[in-house]
């Protein structure tokens, strides 16, 4: 296999007739990289691939593959020797056998009179081996199952020995196991073979797991590009797609994972939500508008954080021990977390950062967590925050003043009493907390629009 050919797109504009589809799109993909193209329907992803694969001539701008302008420096045939495409729709009833289908990928290399030579068949053989379709070679393409079919289409593209492989939603018709199979295969190919891969993906979560870089198109323009962590954010996703999402972290890979939030579906608790349950659509706060910092630990804030996130309030929490239940919930909900090592006490630096985070938050809620010497400093910081005027509330008022939470010889009780005196709200549960936060947020909106 050849080395990967990098892709560079400069100021690309493409359209059909009088309709403009893409304007001013820039992209840079290094050789051997695995790049993802994401964006809502009709954002111009497929059109972009057409301009790169030399099917649809751009109105302006340049497309450079392996340093060559595909429209000016390369002939049709030369482009086909460099760039292979896995299309979104491949005729299901294609009447050839698997091997014959894969051999079609050799067309740009084969003399039309002499036909395929042994090296061409060897290349097709290799492509079938790489995609695990060798055993299917004498079967009819039209008789294959969906996952097999997609592997054969990929083998055909690989038989073209491309330096740049473009794929248009290669997993959209597949089960989740076959999706992972195809993407794993592509990942291996880009790593081992050095093929540069540019793949259009519908599924943002798969895209952020697999891609080295992501390019987000919306309305024909490049909205964001960079690492999955910098592109798949709540701001970008909601701006491009609309809707309500929470962007958390993948529990294993650590990359961003988008969770859709429904206005209508329940939240897995037995308690009926006081708000929204009546079907009244509430406004979804702007991302980053009114952050709530939660002082928690040991699962004491699980329902609280989920309820706030469900209604769109950005969260921060900590310091929390890595692996703690509340830490995991916060991570899944995309909360900003201050993380300390498991089973260790809060260090000064973490507490200082938590204090800064609290002072910048719209509100602070102290969950019904027991306090000992290890986590007492954050409670002290919360008291300081309340003193400086930020709204602070204590959850589970029934226990808030009790002594059962105090494992610090009365110092926690004293701090809790102090914060109550400073006017902290006493909240009965997650729904109460939501109502309190909502009230504050709306009042804030009234003050500075």
């Amino acid at each position: 296999m050849r080395d990967g050919a990098g892709l560079r797109v400069e100021n690309l504009a493409v359209g059909y007739g009088s309709d403009s589809v893409l304007q001013g799109v820039e992209m840079e993909v290094a050789p051997g990289q695995f790049a993802g193209l994401i964006g809502p329907n009709a954002s111009g992803k497929s059109t972009f691939l057409k301009a790169v694969s030399r099917v649809l001539r751009p109105r302006s701008g340049r497309v450079l593959a392996g340093g060559k302008d595909v429209w000016r420096d390369l002939s049709r045939l030369q482009a086909a020797r460099l760039i292979a495409v896995v299309p979104q729709d491949f005729p299901r009833d294609f009447p050839f056998t698997v091997e014959e289908t894969v051999l079609l990928g050799r067309i740009p290399f084969v003399d039309r009179i002499r036909g395929e030579r042994p090296p061409d068949r060897a290349r097709a053989w290799q492509a079938m081996e790489a995609t695990g379709t060798l055993a299917l070679r004498d079967r009819l393409f039209s008789e294959l199952a969906g996952g097999e079919r997609q592997r054969v289409v990929l083998a055909k593209a690989l038989a073209q020995s491309p330096g740049l492989l473009l794929l248009d939603e290669p997993t959209s018709h597949l089960d989740i196991n076959h999706q992972v199979e195809i993407l794993d295969l592509l990942k291996r190919l880009s790593r081992a073979g050095g093929v540069t891969v540019v793949v259009v993906l519908h599924d943002l979560n798969l895209a952020s797991i697999y891609c080295d870089s992501l390019h987000l198109l919306a309305g024909g323009q490049l909205l964001a590009h960079g690492t999955p962590g910098s592109v798949v954010t709540r701001e970008n996703v909601e701006a491009a797609y609309g809707g309500r999402v929470i962007v958390g972290r993948h529990p294993v890979h650590g990359c961003p994972q988008v969770t859709l939030v429904s206005e209508e579906a329940g939240d897995g608790r037995d308690v009926t939500l006081a708000t929204g349950a009546q079907g009244t659509a509430r406004a979804w706060p702007l991302p980053g508008s009114f952050r709530v910092h939660v002082v928690a630990g040991g699962g004491s804030a699980d329902a609280l954080m989920r309820n706030l996130a469900r209604h769109g309030y950005p969260l921060s929490a900590g310091p929390l021990n890595a692996g703690d239940t509340d830490w995991q919930t916060g991570r899944a909900l995309g909360a900003e977390l201050i993380t300390i090592p498991p089973f260790s006490a809060m260090d000064k630096e973490s507490v200082r950062r938590a204090a800064a985070m609290m002072s910048e938050a719209g509100a602070v809620i102290v969950a019904p967590v027991p306090f000992g010497h290890g986590n007492l400093p954050v409670l002290a910081a919360a008291v300081e925050t309340a003193r400086s005027g930020t709204p602070v509330a204590l959850m589970d008022a029934g226990q808030a003043t009790g002594t059962r939470r105090d494992f610090a010889q009365g110092r926690a009780t004293a701090l809790l009493a102090e914060v109550t005196q400073l006017g902290a709200a006493l909240l009965a549960g997650p729904d109460d907390a939501l109502a309190w936060v909502r009230g504050l947020a709306e009042r804030r909106k009234g003050i500075d629009p």
């Binding site: 057409k50 694969s53 030399r54 099917v55 002939s75 049709r76 045939l77 030369q78 482009a79 086909a80 020797r81 760039i83 292979a84 495409v85 299309p87 729709d89 491949f90 005729p91 009833d93 294609f94 009447p95 050839f96 056998t97 091997e99 014959e100 079609l104 990928g105 067309i107 740009p108 084969v110 039309r112 036909g115 395929e116 042994p118 090296p119 068949r121 060897a122 053989w125 081996e129 790489a130 995609t131 695990g132 060798l134 055993a135 299917l136 039209s142 008789e143 294959l144 199952a145 996952g147 097999e148 073209q160 196991n177 076959h178 199979e181 295969l185």
Partner: protein
């Protein structure tokens, strides 16, 4: 029917085929061509021997051999000169013309089916036959006295009508520099229907020519000789060669036009070439022997069932099979109701239809 999943496990379960061994597909093509070639020799032999006057095969062979320039003919027995005339001026050109026309219709049909990705396509799909029919029926009805190098007015008018119809369909279907095949198909059908209506009008208004027009429409090789063969062959040979040259591109077009472009093919140019070559082939065939149906539709399907859908096999084998079917059909047309003649189009349909249905039932596979 779930097949093994996973990338690595099943690559070792069969030994690799040596890369140099020819694909089974080519072997099948070789066998098919050899069998059909032998069939063509036999059928051609019957074609020149059998007829209203049956001649002894040995004598026919001698007559044919006497015309081969590199053979000394001194020791051949003699034969009546009327027999020589029957073989050389009546039967031989007719057999050759049947073969060439059958091959052309089959190749054009295969190419149109591939281009349109439609199993219902045949050489007449874009109006060639209706245009030719209009030209021919007008020439018959008006009695055009023109003769060019021995060709009568009817074939010339038919050829002109066919070419004009294709150009019209093409002009209607074209959008800028592109020719979408869907447009071609629809405008072909519409123009064809319109022209057929005009043919009916001509028939209605020229009652004393009805029989002649109808017989022309059903196709016949009666009375065709070397002149017709000579006029048609250049188109038929050049058209067939162009289509054979583009066989690989037809394969790619089966994937869809965009996929073909990804393989480096100039799709619009290739489509125009295929369209032009297949139309010329069909126009020349129709002009010489009328609208012979079924060959162009059924032969490619039969051949697909034999050698698969790869156009590099499909087109040459279709040519041989089309020639064979046409020679046999012509033989039947002029011998079954001796001394009368059946229209050859009727015979091709009667022979080809049931055979195709039999194959279809037996293979139970998809047609295209």
């Amino acid at each position: 029917m779930e097949a093994p999943v996973g990338g690595r496990s099943h690559t070792q379960d069969r030994p690799a085929r040596p890369a140099g061994r020819p694909a089974p597909q080519r072997t099948r093509r070789g066998i098919a061509l050899a069998v059909l070639g032998a069939g063509l020799v036999v059928a051609g032999g019957f074609g020149v021997t059998v007829g209203s006057v049956s001649l002894p095969p040995g004598e026919v062979l001698s007559i044919l051999m006497s015309k081969l320039p590199w053979l000394t003919t001194d020791r051949l027995p003699s034969w009546p000169s009327s027999h020589e005339a029957i073989v050389l001026t009546l039967r031989l050109p007719r057999v050759l013309l049947a073969g060439v026309v059958g091959a052309s219709l089959a190749v054009a049909g295969g190419a149109f089916q591939g281009l349109f990705r439609n199993p219902m396509a045949d050489p007449y799909i874009i109006g060639v036959s209706s245009g030719a029919a209009l030209g021919a029926s007008l020439a018959i009805a008006l009695g055009v006295p023109v003769t060019v190098t021995g060709l009568g007015g009817v074939p010339l008018a038919a050829f002109a009508g066919a070419v004009a119809a294709v150009l019209l369909v093409y002009a209607i279907a074209r959008v800028g520099r592109e020719v979408p095949v869907g447009n071609l198909l629809l405008s072909g059908v519409a123009v064809g229907a319109f022209l057929s209506a005009l043919v009916s009008l001509v028939v209605v208004f020229s009652r004393n020519h009805i029989e002649e027009i109808v017989f022309w429409l059903m196709g016949s090789l009666a009375g065709r000789g070397w002149t017709h063969l000579g006029a048609a062959v250049p188109y038929l040979v050049v058209g067939s060669l162009i289509l054979l040259y583009l066989a690989r591109d037809l394969n790619a077009l089966l994937l869809g036009e965009e996929e073909a472009a990804h393989l480096g093919i100039d799709v619009e140019r290739t489509k125009k070439l295929i369209l032009g070559a297949a139309s010329l082939l069909t126009a020349a065939a129709v002009a010489t022997c009328g609208v012979v149906g079924f060959v162009g539709l059924v032969v490619p399907h039969i051949v697909r069932l034999m050698v698969g859908p790869d156009h590099r096999s499909l087109l040459p084998v279709s040519a041989a099979a089309g020639a064979l079917l046409m020679i046999l059909a012509d033989l039947a047309a002029r011998t079954v109701i001796r001394p009368g003649e059946l229209p050859i189009g009727v015979v091709t349909a009667l022979l080809g239809g049931p055979f195709f249905l039999y194959l279809l039932r037996r293979s139970r596979s998809r047609v295209l």
